[in-house]
């Protein structure tokens, strides 16, 4: 169970145990213990909220440095479309792609191109018979993991298609081998330029039985200044973008759903909003819709923790970039009515009931009853001083045997006052 490798790492020396992150974590995965934060890896969904909120920059997303992987003979960059929103006054995507080549990549394969392919096939998939509606996008890895941990009933609603990043990795590798038959598999390095911490985990862990085609994840903000420097040189691009408005639209919330080309969709962003939407879908109290796009980050991928620019500013910049672009540059014939097998996946993380107290129902009931007892005594102010995000979570920790009630400062204070009062009464 504990084998899931996360991208969020903690710098213990920087962490002051301030409790900011424990309250923000949507799955209550963090506790303060021994003066610093501890992440419960079973519960973590890599949403990056703790990275955003940490006032001491003690939380980081673990990524690879481009410089450490220069041994690949043929290095391919997969820029996420969110990258295009990071530059001031950018009016041509080609200069970004050229910049990537100038800093050392041998080729570039746009994730936005793969996104257009995915949009094409999503439209076809939505027409298939016997599928569970609404279909939920598989693009945001945080959402897929959240569903597997908390909304198992909705597992079959997830679009069984590989996300654009994977398809671009697959296609990029294929293209490299076709164009350069002398290259072996080990010679080719596929680098994803990521705005997102969760993609790092996705790539390291695979997806169910599926193993990722990406070799290295480079953080967008890590490569940004190097790229900016190369772009400033204003070389005439020798490479041209193969994505249109739809592909680049995937960088922001609503882009993927508008590409299904009908109005029967819902899109939401921000992890709390996504959780509420999933609750509603599970309870069956949303209107009939075909497609649901959920992005854990506010604004969509442009809101990823590894971006430079504010998501709303990045979105506005993308509007400029998208202007005068064709709707899409990737079509499939109108006679195509099936999705190729290589794009499909049925590998989904298994349902792991992270919140259950015990494997035995009667034991769980006893523990729950005990929790109710403990909570009656707790102050209910959710101060976080004990290291748990709420009094309820603290009661659960006590029952699970990982905390004891002496950690509650309010209880201890009251106890001390009682003894003090008792002592002064004895004096008089």
């Amino acid at each position: 169970m504990n084998s899931y490798r996360h991208s969020v790492v903690l710098d213990v020396d920087k962490c002051t145990g301030c409790t900011s992150c424990i309250r923000r974590c949507p799955t209550e995965a963090i506790r303060i213990n021994g003066g610093h934060a501890e992440i419960n890896t079973d519960r973590c969904i890599d949403c990056g909220e703790c990275i955003r909120v940490c006032p001491n920059n003690a939380k980081k997303a673990m990524c690879s440095k481009f410089e450490h992987y220069l041994h690949y003979k043929w290095k391919i960059a997969l820029p996420a479309p969110a990258l295009y929103g990071q530059f001031d006054g950018l009016d041509d995507v080609d200069s970004v792609l050229q910049g990537l080549k100038d800093i050392g990549f041998d080729d570039v394969y746009e994730v936005a191109k793969a996104a257009e392919i995915v949009s094409n096939y999503t439209r076809i998939f939505l027409k298939s018979e016997g599928i569970k509606k609404p279909v939920i996008s598989s693009a945001c890895p945080v959402i897929s993991r959240l569903i597997s941990l908390r909304f198992p009933y909705l597992k079959d609603n997830i679009l069984p298609m590989l996300p654009p990043m994977e398809i671009s990795a697959m296609e990029a590798r294929k293209k490299a081998k076709e164009e350069h038959p002398e290259l072996s598999d080990e010679d080719i390095g596929v680098f994803f330029i990521s705005p997102c911490a969760a993609k790092v985990s996705y790539i390291r862990n695979g997806y169910g039985d599926y193993k990722s085609n990406v070799d290295v994840v480079v953080s967008l903000n890590d490569i940004y200044f190097m790229l900016l420097g190369a772009m400033k040189k204003n070389r005439t691009p020798t490479i041209s973008s193969e994505a249109g408005m739809i592909g680049i639209g995937w960088a922001t919330s609503g882009g993927e759903s508008s590409a299904i080309l009908n109005d029967s969709y819902l899109f939401a962003d921000g992890i709390e909003n996504c959780i509420q939407v999933l609750e509603s879908i599970e309870n069956g109290n949303i209107p009939h819709i075909e497609f649901v796009e959920l992005n854990a980050c506010i604004g969509g991928c442009v809101g990823g923790v590894m971006t430079i620019e504010n998501p709303f500013i990045a979105k506005t910049r993308l509007q400029t970039v998208r202007r005068y672009m064709p709707v899409s540059k990737n079509f499939i014939g109108s006679d195509v009515n099936f999705v190729p097998d290589s794009f499909l996946t049925d590998s989904l993380p298994d349902y792991t009931p992270i919140s259950r107290l015990s494997e035995s129902m009667s034991e769980s009931m006893r523990m729950m009853a005990k929790m109710q007892e403990i909570r009656k005594n707790l102050p209910g102010i959710d101060c976080g001083a004990c290291g748990a995000p709420t009094c309820r979570a603290f009661a659960e920790d006590i029952v699970r045997g990982v905390a004891n009630d002496r950690k509650c400062v309010v209880l201890e204070h009251n106890k001390k006052e009682e003894t003090d009062e008792g002592a002064s009464e004895n004096d008089s």
Binding site: R150, P152, Y153, E279, E282, N283, G284, N285, P287, Y351, P353, S355, R356, L357, S358, E359, M361, S362, S364, M365, M368, A369, Q372, E396
Partner: protein, 141 residues
């Protein structure tokens, strides 16, 4: 073991915005008990519909969820207007909700039928002018 676990909620009739909160809480608690997802879904939908009904028609009430080892019992009690014709109320699409409530997307006449659909047993006791008590049961086997 005949012991049961009780979750009690006061459903606030004055605050429409908070309707559905008990359902969210119960869902979380049932997950902690490690119940199968399908059972959790049944209980939370039945409770949600019941909560909404109590807020729309009866100025709120109380919800008690009793978890036994073999079943989950949901008791919804209110001191509202009561249901004059239970058979009629059980018909899909029949609703006495006001225009106001309908404009919010409620009052489709699916509340009681859904509660019946998602539970294994349902009993309605109602007296006009006195109130309504609905007892539902979902078996765990």
């Amino acid at each position: 073991m005949s012991e049961s676990l009780n979750f009690h909620f006061d459903v606030d009739g004055e605050n429409f915005v908070s309707a559905g909160q008990a359902s969210v809480q119960v869902k979380k608690n049932l997950r902690r008990l490690g119940l199968p997802p399908e059972i959790i879904r049944q209980v939370s939908i039945a409770l949600y519909e019941g909560e909404i009904n109590m807020v729309i028609h009866a100025h709120g009430g109380t919800a008690d969820i009793n978890v036994f080892e073999d079943k989950i019992e949901i008791i919804l009690a209110d001191k509202g207007p009561g249901i004059a014709d239970i058979n009629l109320a059980m018909q899909e699409g029949y609703s006495t909700a006001t225009e106001n409530v309908r404009s919010l997307g409620f009052g489709a006449g699916m509340g009681l039928p859904n509660m019946k659909r998602y539970t294994d047993e349902m009993k309605i006791e109602s007296e006009v002018g006195v109130g309504t008590t609905i007892t539902m049961c979902v078996y765990l086997k």
